[in-house]
C-alpha cells in the first residue's frame, strides 16, 4: 500500500477511535450515538439472529434490479442518442440539469401509479441511476480515437464488428465509470425511497426503528449500510483507477 493509503487508514481508524472515546466518556450522549463497538456488537447479533435477513435481501434485490435496468437503459439510450446529433443537442441542457430535479418528490406519484411494493422503489432507483450511465456512455463514445474508426473502415469491417471490436473496448473505461455511478445512485435512490414510504427493506427498518426508539437496531442497520456501500465503492474505485492507468500506458 502507498504512503497515502496507510495515512488514510490511520486517519479513518483514528476517527473511529475518537468517536469511541467520546461516547465512552459521555461527551456524546448514549441516546444520540452509541459507541462504535456497541454498534458493531448489535449488528453482529442482528445478523446472527437472522431477524433482518428478509429486509436486507429485499433491499439488495431492489438495488440489483434498479442497477441492471439503469445500466441497460442508460447504455441503449446513450448509443441511440449518440447516433442522432440533433436530438443530442436538444437533450443536452436537460441531461445537464437532470440531477437538479429532486426525484423523491415523484416517489408519491409512483406509489399512486404502481401501488406500494417493490415496483415504485425500483423505478425511483432506476430514475436515479440511468442518467449517470447515459451521460458516461455518451462521453465514452465521444472519446473513441478517430484513427481507430478509420482503421476499421480501411479493413472493411462491417458495423457490427466495428461496434464489438473497436467501439466497445475503446469506450469501456467510461462505461465502467457510468456503471459505478449507477450502482451508487441506485443504492441512494432505493434506500431513500424505502425510508420515506414503504413496508419493507432496510430503509424502512431504519425509519421504523427510529419511530419506535429502537436505537440498537437502528444504529446496527445504519452501520450495515455504511460498511456495505463503502466497501463496494472502494472496490469499484480501485478497479476503475486500475483500468484508467492501464489505458494511459
Amino acid at each position: 500500500m502507498s504512503w497515502a493509503g496507510w495515512l488514510r487508514l490511520i486517519v479513518v481508524t483514528g476517527a473511529v477511535l475518537l468517536l469511541e472515546v467520546l461516547c465512552r466518556a459521555g461527551v456524546i450522549a448514549k441516546t444520540v450515538l452509541p459507541a462504535p463497538s456497541v454498534m458493531a456488537g448489535d449488528l453482529y447479533r442482528l445478523l446472527a439472529s437472522g431477524a433482518a435477513s428478509a429486509d436486507i435481501g429485499e433491499t439488495l434485490g431492489n438495488v440489483a434490479m434498479a442497477v441492471i435496468a439503469s445500466i441497460l437503459l442508460g447504455f441503449v439510450a446513450g448509443v441511440a442518442i449518440h447516433a442522432m446529433p440533433r436530438v443530442r443537442r436538444a437533450l443536452d441542457p436537460f441531461l445537464a440539469t437532470y440531477y437538479a430535479v429532486p426525484f423523491f418528490v415523484f416517489y408519491p406519484v409512483l406509489i399512486v401509479i404502481f401501488g406500494l411494493g417493490a415496483a415504485p422503489i425500483v423505478v425511483i432507483g432506476t430514475l436515479f441511476g440511468v442518467v449517470a450511465m447515459l451521460i458516461n456512455t455518451l462521453n465514452g463514445l465521444d472519446r473513441i480515437p478517430r484513427v481507430l474508426l478509420k482503421t476499421a473502415r480501411v479493413h472493411g469491417m462491417d458495423p457490427v464488428r466495428t461496434a464489438l471490436m473497436v467501439k466497445l473496448p475503446s469506450a469501456a473505461p467510461y462505461l465502467f465509470t457510468g456503471a459505478k455511478l449507477a450502482i451508487a445512485y441506485c443504492f441512494i435512490g432505493v434506500i431513500a425511497a424505502e425510508f420515506i414510504m414503504s413496508s419493507s427493506g432496510i430503509g424502512y427498518s431504519i425509519a421504523y426503528a427510529f419511530n419506535n426508539f429502537d436505537n440498537a437496531r437502528m444504529y446496527a442497520l445504519m452501520l450495515f449500510i455504511i460498511v456495505l456501500v463503502t466497501v463496494l465503492n472502494a472496490v469499484l474505485f480501485t478497479w476503475e483507477r486500475r483500468i484508467m492507468q492501464r489505458r494511459r500506458r
Binding site: V11, I191, M218
Partner: protein, 245 residues
Amino acid sequence: MHRKTDTLLVIVALVALWQVLHWIVGSVALTSPADTLARAVELLGSATFWPHVAETGVALLYSLLLAVFGGLTIGIALGINRLAGEVAEPILVSLYSLPKITLYPVILLAFGLGLSAKVAFGTIHGIIPVIIFTMNAVRTIPPVMLRSARVMRLSPPQLVSTIILPAALPELVSGLRVGFSLTLLGVLIGEMFASQRGLGYLVMNAIGGHDVRTMMAVVLILATTAVLISAGLLHIDRRMHRRAS
C-alpha cells in the same frame, strides 16, 4: 435559433408523454398537465402556500451558505496540501456515494426537530461535491502561478484572493451547481420525513390526503424552479469555461 426550437420540442414531447401517461393511468393517479398547471397557479396565488416556500427557501439558503463556504475552505486547504488531498479524496468520494438518508435519524437526535436539522441535512448533502470540485480546481492551477506568488512573497490570504480563487472560479461554479442540486435534495428529503412545514411536507401531506392534484402541482413548481436555477448556473458555468480555455 435552431437550438431554442429543439429545446422547445423536447419540452412539448415531455408534456405529451405526461398527457399520455395521464390517459393510461387516469386522473386518480396522475392529473393532466393542464389541470396540474391550473392547481399550481391557484397555489401560487394563495396565501397559505408562501409560508411553506419561505420555510424551504430559508433552510436551503442557510444550507447552501454553509456548504459553499465550508466546502471552499476545506477544498482549498486540501488542494494546496497535496498529501492531505490524496489521503482525503477516496474518503470524500465514498462519503459522496453514501445513502446519507440513513444518517437522518442521527441528525434528528442531535439537532432536534426543526430548521437546524434540515439545514444540517442539506449541508451534508451539498458540502462534499463543493469540496471535491474545489480541491480539483486548486490542484490544476498551473504551478508557475504558485511559484510567482512565492517569488512575490504573497501572504496566504493574498494567495487565496489573487490567485487561487480567480484561477479556480470556473470549476467552483460547476461545484456550486452540483452542490445546489444536492442541497435542495437534502432539504426536501428532510422535510418529507419529519417536518411540519415546507414544500417537502406539503407533498407528503397531499399524498396522505389523496390530493394528487396538489401533490403534482407542488412537484411541478419544485421541478421547474430547480431546473431553471440549475440551467442559469449551467449557462454561467459554460461561459466561464469558454473564457478560461
